[in-house]
């Protein structure tokens, strides 16, 4: 049994070396889009920004560093996950789909105007680390309220990050839910929701402490996705400073 498994691994390794060139004509991309809409949107969303399946709208895909990897994943699926093999596609259709997937990348590959070193200073000056974590030498540093930014440069485009800094409530991550509960004893706890079901809710506060409650013991539960605990930096940063801050965020590329 073990020998069989080893053989399978060797076979996969050999296959991994195969180079694949993705087609690039407008017709190929259009066909790839149709194939993608037909087979991939259920899990990955029509613009590739994920859902049940992985977020494909980024330049670097963790499991598909090369175009060959991407084509093989589409063709064979990912064993042990819900990613099925695309039995229905010819090799050419697989590469057309892969070409379209590559075109979904939201991460802006153009150079960002600002200066990342200045941006780091602004990140500190404006207290971003009070809520956001970034992995640095020696471990994770920063607060717990906002999303971890260690790999944000791999996940989001500069344009998206700019919007998030200027209008935080307009670009809340899907899993981010500001929450506030008041217990029957009068205690108030605010933070981000980390779990909720029919009977319980758990909240992580700004200091990183987890609070878990039975709903039956609460006076009120307030959830509001229309607001963000993060303030807008619209009037706090000059245009060049905003460029610098975005340049710093785009530079954060801790491997996923």
């Amino acid at each position: 049994m073990r020998i069989v498994l080893l053989w399978v691994c060797l076979a996969a390794f050999a296959q991994d070396k195969e180079d694949v060139t993705l087609p690039g004509t407008a017709e190929d991309l259009a066909r790839g889009k149709k194939l993608y809409l037909g087979s991939c949107t259920y899990c990955h969303g029509p613009t590739g920004d994920g859902g049940k399946g992985a977020d494909l709208a980024r330049r670097e895909l963790v499991r598909a560093k090369t175009d060959g990897d991407l084509a093989r994943i589409i063709e064979n699926g990912i064993p042990g996950t819900e990613m099925p093999a695309a039995w229905h596609m010819t090799r050419r259709e697989v590469t057309q789909t892969a070409a379209f997937v590559r075109s979904l990348a939201k991460v802006d590959v153009r150079a960002v105007a600002g200066n990342a070193v200045n941006g780091l200073a602004l990140y500190g000056k404006h207290g971003c680390a009070g809520c956001h974590t970034v992995k640095q030498t020696g471990g994770y540093r920063g607060g717990f309220m906002g999303p971890d930014l260690s790999s944000i440069g791999l996940k989001r485009s500069a344009a998206h990050l700019r919007e998030a800094v200027l209008s935080p409530a307009a670009s809340l991550p899907d899993d981010f839910m500001p929450a506030r509960v008041v217990t029957k004893g009068g205690q108030t706890v605010e933070g981000r929701r980390v779990h909720e079901d029919t009977f319980t809710i758990a909240i992580r506060d700004a200091a990183g402490n987890n609070h878990s409650f039975l709903k039956a013991g609460l006076q009120s539960v307030s959830l509001d996705r229309n607001s963000s605990p993060m303030p807008s930096y619209k009037d706090k940063l000059r245009d060049t400073e905003l460029d610098d801050l975005i340049a710093y965020l785009v530079s954060l590329k801790e491997p996923l």
């Binding site: 149709k34 194939l35 993608y36 037909g38 259920y42 099925p84 079901d197 029919t198």
Partner: protein, 526 residues
């Protein structure tokens, strides 16, 4: 003492025999659970009342049986005279001691590695008739197993798995026949309901869920699209002894979200079909969603109710459909009696006098995406509803959620996915669920119990004035069947994707529920 108990059990098993008459008269033996829904009427209601609204707070885990497989459980166990039979996806059937969960036998089928499946490798249970257990395998075979040993008696291929056929449904044993159908609704199969001779495995009849040339209902599919129109079977039907018909819900037409290539009503997809048990000849059909483009399978267990409708006694079949409407039909002829939405829906103005939906323009999937309620998973899905004759209420796990529907290309090739689009969640919608109790005569809501996530777990009602169900987030709980009040809950922290059932042995009632990859069985604390 323990050894003696097991020995006596073994004796009971060897004497075990479940002729058709016992299943027919199952109301006389509430300690047993002979068939998928507990009874031929699909009510998933038990007349056991040792556990009741007054003492359910004392319910605790009696035993747990872990599956050892990687698939989530979708099984409803059967119980016969102290012995349990259940399935575990992808390929296992087991027999257990109902008092302890101890293994009596285990059958494992070797399945092909190149199976074409859309949605995991589940199985929903077995049927039993006389001394034989019947199992529909994921590679579309029907297999007869000796109820005492699990040894294979016979094995027949229903259809070729290489062209997309599979089987996940618990078969239905009626008279001398084993009835089941094939799954594969995302692979362009031509759906069917089959009946096999219980003794030999010889096929007695096949009813195609898509009529062919010469049939009066032929011609509701454009061109040759009927040949690959799906209408799969994947939840168990009901049986009406008075009319000798078996009623089954059929799945979506294929390709799921692109209706352009199959213009027409697409009979008998998304429908109930009533078929003569002896001949396989159709008596009637009722299509809930003509020309479906949202994947709203009608694969909900048909619930047979003998009651009153508008003042007169009536034999009815009720269902809460995935398309968001609750329906009551006359089960002698399939005539529409009443229907109304039980969750939010935005695709139809309503139902006309014949029950046909008045579809709103602009609600089909598009390449750019089109938001419609309910979502692909529907107003309810395959999880069993329940009807309690004691409360005269129809209980349904309800889903309040919409979706953006997308249309894509789909070229049919044998054995390959044929869905033509997809869906995605509506951003910023906070979907939720509810257990809803409906008046079966009107569809009016009597009470609801809200759940944080859309409900997807089956329901069991009991004479103890209880409704048992669970949440997708791992709570198994009991509600007061009359008021919906929460009476008891058990936190498993494991997903649930199955239906509860109940049985009794040695004068003690148990409630069983498959949770994540284990079967949990509960009884009262002494």
């Amino acid at each position: 003492m323990k050894i003696a108990a097991i020995l006596s059990l073994a004796g009971a098993l060897s004497a075990q025999n479940v002729p058709f008459q016992r299943i027919l008269d199952s109301q006389k033996e509430p300690q047993n659970w002979f068939t998928y829904s507990g009874n031929y009427n699909g009510q998933r209601h038990s007349s056991l009342d040792l556990i009741h609204a007054g003492n359910v707070k004392r319910l605790k885990v009696a035993w747990v049986h872990h599956s050892g497989t990687t698939e989530s459980h979708e099984t409803t166990p059967l119980v016969v005279d102290g012995v349990m039979f259940l399935t575990e996806g992808p390929n296992v059937v087991k027999s257990l001691d109902t008092r302890t969960g101890s293994l009596l036998w285990r059958y494992e089928r070797t399945i092909p590695k190149d199976l074409r499946l859309c949605c995991g490798r589940p199985n929903r249970g077995v049927a039993i008739l006389n001394d034989t257990v019947y199992y529909g395998s994921i590679d579309a075979h029907l297999i007869a197993l000796d109820a005492r040993t699990g040894r294979v008696k016979w094995d027949v291929e229903m259809a070729d798995y290489k062209t997309g056929y599979s089987s996940t449904v618990a078969p239905l044993a009626v008279k001398d026949k084993i009835i089941l159908g094939a799954a594969g609704g995302e692979f362009g199969i031509r759906g069917f309901i089959d009946a096999y001779d219980a003794k030999t495995g010889a096929r007695a009849w096949r009813f195609y869920t898509i009529p062919g040339p010469g049939d009066p209902d032929f011609g509701t599919w454009e061109g040759d699209s009927w040949k690959v129109g799906s209408a799969a079977i994947w939840t168990t039907g009901s049986y009406d002894p008075e009319t000798n018909t078996t009623i089954w819900g059929t799945g979506n037409p294929g390709p799921d979200w692109n209706g352009d290539v199959r213009k027409g009503d697409n009979l008998y997809s998304c429908a109930f079909v009533a078929v003569d048990v002896d001949t396989g000849v159709k008596r009637w059909h009722y299509q809930f969603t003509p020309h479906d483009t949202h994947d709203w399978d009608a694969t909900q267990v048909p619930v047979l109710i003998d009651g009153r409708f508008r003042g007169a006694p009536r034999k009815m079949v009720a269902t809460a459909n995935r398309n968001a409407f609750f329906y009551v039909l006359d089960r002698a002829n399939g005539k529409f009696l009443t229907g109304k939405p039980f969750v939010k829906q935005t695709w139809a103005r309503g139902l006309d006098d014949s029950g046909r939906p008045q579809v709103l323009p602009g609600t089909d999937p598009t390449e750019a995406g089109n938001a419609v309620w309910p979502s692909l998973a529907g107003g309810t899905n395959w999880a069993s509803p329940s009807y309690s004759p004691a409360t005269n209420l129809f209980y349904v796990p309800a889903r309040e959620q919409g979706a953006f529907y997308y249309k894509g290309e789909a070229d049919y090739k044998p054995g390959v996915i044929f869905n033509g689009g997809g869906q995605r969640v509506v951003p910023d919608e906070q979907p939720y669920g509810a257990i809803r109790a409906l008046d079966p005569e009107t569809g009016n809501l009597k009470w609801e119990f809200r759940t944080h996530t859309p409900a997807n777990v089956g329901l069991l009602s009991t004479k103890g004035n209880l409704v048992f169900t669970g949440s997708t987030q791992g709570d198994f709980f009991a509600l007061n069947a009359t008021t919906g009040e929460l009476l008891w809950r058990f936190r498993s922290n494991g997903g649930m994707n199955s239906n509860p059932m109940t049985y009794s042995v040695d004068g003690k009632q148990y409630v069983a529920m498959a949770i994540a990859r284990a079967l949990y069985v509960f009884d009262l604390m002494e």
